[in-house]
Amino acid sequence: MLELTGITAGYDRGRPVVRDMSLAVADGEALGLLGPSGCGKSTLARVAALLHTPWAGSVRLAGETVTGHRFRAPRHQRTAIGVVFQQPRLAADPRLRLRDLIAEPARATGRGRELADRAAALADAAGLGAELLRRRPHEVSDGQLQRACLARALLLRPRLLICDEMTAMLDASTTAALVALVEDYRKEQGAALLAVGHDRVLLGRWCDSVREWDGDGNPAGAELLTQE
């Protein structure tokens, strides 16, 4: 599904945050990427989500080589990946009501009408009632907002879901609920998952396999921990 080869990436003129990292997620596989904060795993997730242009290395998505990132990536490649970020407050446009937030990708791709029912169903599955959907981000809690952000990421039926520290800010019950929502979707669509995080117990319980990354931004010492 996703193949990252020899990725080196960084910001501006600084040291590379990610050095010569390779990673592959098979169709339908759930891979956990475990590492301490600041080790570059979020940057790698952004490269994988086609949101950050790497300095070197190649990204292959469903057999196609990715030729550009951000706006330069073709729309069908971008929308094949659903992304959920760590901080829902920053990942939600503060002016959009939750209803519009969830429907945003459908409207951006001109499928607003076609996917209206799916948006409503996803909101319902995420536990967001009609009253909450009328609110704006600053009027709901982190947990409620992250539920909406996850629904948004699932709207276009992505074949790969990237969750970058999706539950780091959330309590145990909301974490379990969001993970259950992701797993329901994966079961239904057979989608792959790249879950990035620092919680060994959580990733171990959630993913098929967990790849550990040492603190150096260097995957040389990375080992593969297979669960169950």
């Binding site: 929308t79 992304v83 503060p94 951006a108």
Partner: protein
């Protein structure tokens, strides 16, 4: 260790709610109310006076030249016997209109340039910002004079001149804001959801910077008003026979030299007071956009 639990309060009579005092609120309220009242009065005056008192403000009456303030003429009369109160209101009408239109033109131009520069980045950004620097490097008044000098005197050259010299600051503010927003995860999320460049700019970036651009426009109204007055005072802006605050002060130079202060003072106050009032309102708006204490309710 035995756990101690505080006693559950029995059903005692409900205490009243306590509202924490916020000291600075009082003076701010006075400032905002005064500013709003002054702006409202000025706007009402320029809108209503021509309707309610359809007197010809241009009518010359040489028998009542340079009368000091009195009950008949609260602001006195000018050197050709025109009532200064009426003429000041007409002058404010012209100056305020020019100021507002010019500020809107400048803010719209600045918003467009700033958004495009910030969102596009790279070569486009560098090119536009060099243009901004070029405009900023030339003194406003000098360039304004240059622009009005290319046209026949009138209202529109002044609007164009003030608009073209003042969009620079808005463009910079908007670009900086867009640059800081551009890297937000919510823009990432929009891109990942398939949004194109145009949609991101129009739906996500532009609405976010609109309040800042609006504030810049409001703050620019007094500035534009002063520029209009300055150009007119120099004889380059509004034609001398048309009442504007600048032309009136220009015409009052002679009487002032002779010791007649009122033709200068009252139009001058008509420039200063609305300026302060608008600035006061804009300040309150800025505090709203940029709250220090208003952390909202963090749930």
């Amino acid at each position: 260790m035995a756990t101690t639990h505080p006693p559950t309060p029995a059903t005692e009579p409900e205490q009243p709610w306590h509202t924490p005092a916020h000291e600075r609120r009082g003076t701010r309220k006075v400032r905002v109310t005064t500013s709003a009242a002054l702006v409202a009065t000025a706007v009402a005056a320029v809108l209503l006076v021509p309707l309610l008192f359809p007197l010809d403000q241009q009518a010359i009456d040489l028998t009542s030249r340079l009368l000091p303030p009195s009950w008949d003429h609260p602001f006195g009369t000018d050197d050709v016997g025109r009532d200064l109160l009426l003429r000041s209101v007409y002058g404010l009408r012209v100056s305020l209109t020019v100021g507002i239109v010019a500020a809107l033109v400048a803010a719209a131009l600045g918003l467009a340039v700033g958004c495009v520069a910030g969102a596009a980045g790279g070569r486009t950004d560098r090119l536009l910002m060099r243009l901004v620097d070029t405009f900023a490097a030339v003194p406003h008044l000098l360039m304004g004079i240059f622009i009005v000098a290319m046209f026949r005197p009138g209202v529109w050259p002044v609007v164009v001149s003030v608009g073209l010299t003042h969009w620079v600051s808005t463009a910079r503010i908007v670009r900086a804001e867009v640059l800081s927003l551009r890297t937000r995860p919510y823009i990432d999320a929009a891109i990942s959801g398939g949004a194109g460049r145009r949609r991101v700019v129009l739906r996500h970036l532009m609405p976010a910077v609109l309040p800042q651009a609006g504030l810049a426009a409001v703050l620019m109204v007094p500035h534009a008003l002063w520029h209009e007055s300055a150009l007119s005072f120099l004889g380059l802006g509004i034609p001398a026979h048309q009442a504007s605050l600048g032309t009136m002060i220009n015409a009052a130079r002679g009487p002032l030299a002779a010791g007649d202060w009122w033709p200068t003072l009252f139009p001058g106050l008509f420039i200063i007071i609305p300026t302060l009032a608008i600035a006061g309102l804009a300040g309150a708006w800025r505090e709203r956009i940029n709250p220090r204490r208003r952390s909202e309710l963090v749930l």
